[in-house]
């Protein structure tokens, strides 16, 4: 069985690193998603084209390959070295930001055109329109798919263990080598990730209720026990953005 010392020495710091990586890359991803997602609704074709290239590039690459490229190729190419954790955060943030930009674009496109026209009629600037009219109405639409992406991101953080960042997967590998007992370690690790995903989902449900009430919509009603326990929101196309060849909704 895993000894007490191994847990406090390896696992606890690893959990903290996983939390940090998740939070930092989620913040980066949200920024990227909003910037790229808004640019992709621009009127100028060149802006749409360039942001579209960003989207296709980062949706097409594997975040693991990007991570290794940042850590092992960039120092040789540009004589500039990343702290491994920030390379991991950057790779995850840029990739999941690209997925998120599809969510933002879709939600902005779903805001009724009359809302934008009303903003034009009232003499709002483009930025004011976005900030005061379009994003507040699109935001509740974005939360469920963002939840799905956030869980994907949490799962993605396990990849940073491969570039020598001592997250909880890395800690589990150390404990396995040290104690020669793999079953309890990896079971504990899987359960920990699951618990994290569950906590994140609860948080996002609260956020969704808050977002909906702010624009005067009724909160979502969980009808069955299962739908309250389940982690994904089926309505959200978050996984669609993750994979889809452009969502033609």
């Amino acid at each position: 069985m895993m000894t007490e010392g191994m847990f406090t020495n390896y696992f606890l710091p690893g959990i903290w690193i996983t939390i940090q990586v998740t939070v930092f890359s989620a913040l980066l991803a949200v920024v990227v998603a909003f910037v790229i997602g808004t640019l992709r609704t621009s009127r100028l074709w060149i802006v749409r084209f360039l942001s579209g290239i960003y989207f296709e590039l980062f949706r097409g690459t594997s975040s693991l390959v990007l991570m290794f490229w940042l850590v092992f190729a960039v120092p040789l190419m540009f004589r500039w070295q990343f702290v491994p954790m920030y390379a991991g955060v950057l790779a995850l943030g840029l990739t999941y930001g690209a997925y998120g930009s599809e969510v933002v674009r879709g939600a902005l496109a779903a805001v009724p055109a009359a809302q934008r026209e009303a903003g034009v009629a009232l003499g709002f600037t483009k930025f004011q329109r976005l900030r005061r009219i379009e994003i507040p109405q699109a935001w509740p639409e974005m939360v469920p798919p963002f939840n799905n992406l956030l869980i994907e991101l949490l799962k993605g953080t396990a990849l940073v263990s491969t570039i020598m960042v001592a997250d909880m997967t890395y800690a589990a590998n150390l404990v396995r080598i040290g104690s020669n007992e793999s079953a309890p370690v990896y079971t504990l690790l899987l359960v920990l990730y699951f618990v994290f995903a569950f906590v994140l989902t609860r948080g996002m449900r609260v956020l969704e209720r808050h977002a909906k009430s702010r624009i005067g919509q009724a909160p979502p009603r969980g009808d069955s026990l299962w739908s309250r326990l389940t982690l994904r929101s089926n309505a959200g196309e978050g996984t669609g953005a993750l994979t889809a060849g452009g969502t033609s909704r």
Partner: protein, 217 residues
């Protein structure tokens, strides 16, 4: 930065070996994901709660935990109890199992989209349950989810480098070992570009498929 084409030439034979392995893992992994996902989806609609609940819990657990850790589990823990498999086989099973929980959701949506009248017609014709599924429901359900299934094949392609971490040398694994031996960076760059070059046309293909199936159905 100096890009050395000689390094690229040296890497190319190993790159093609890796591509072959990636495609192999992708095809076999997809087969597992498509068939196992269907089993999950049908089991989730079972009349018996004793079937529905365990299946729901298992799929939910597999879908919300990292593939990398599942691969470690399959590679290090499973041999303690049962057969020890090669890293490629483990990787394929891991990819297939992980993505089967996603395709299960896709099938579930497809099955849910079949009108109730179809079920009722099957009952009215007193078709046995197996025949209702095989001849009435699934042909209609699967047809409309083909593009969504294709999307998960692309997602699986992007997760396929993870099997290199447990030792299956697909294209990323080849790049990693090549770069470690030669202290070069070209191989990583080439593999990164290769992923985009495979994933982007594939996603265009799926977009096309989506449009075609939408018009005719």
């Amino acid at each position: 930065m100096t890009w050395d084409w000689n390094v690229v030439d040296d890497f190319m034979p190993r790159f093609w070996d890796g591509v072959l392995l990636t495609l192999q893992a992708l095809v076999l992994g997809s087969l597992i994901a498509f068939s196992l996902g269907l089993v999950w989806a049908i089991a989730q609609r079972s009349r018996f709660a004793a079937v529905r609940w365990p299946v729901n819990i298992i799929t939910e657990f597999i879908r919300n935990t990292p593939l990398l850790v599942q691969l470690f589990f399959l590679y290090y823990v499973v041999p303690e109890w049962g057969p020890s498999l090669t890293s490629l086989t483990t990787g394929i099973i891991g990819l297939g199992l992980h993505y089967s929980t996603y395709t299960a959701e896709v099938y579930r949506a497809g099955i849910g989209g079949v009108p109730t009248g179809q079920w009722e017609a099957a009952t009215a014709l007193s078709l046995p349950r197996s025949r209702t599924w095989a001849a009435v429901i699934l042909p209609q359900a699967i047809r409309r989810v083909v593009p969504a299934l294709g999307n998960y094949v692309i997602a699986m392609l992007k997760d396929s480098p993870l099997i290199a971490i447990i030792g299956a040398l697909e294209m990323f694994g080849e790049a990693e070992s090549f770069s470690n031996e030669t202290f070069t960076f070209e191989a990583y760059t080439i593999v990164g570009i290769a992923f985009i070059l495979i994933a982007y046309p594939a996603s265009l293909l799926i977009r096309l498929l989506e449009r075609r199936l939408a018009i005719t159905s």
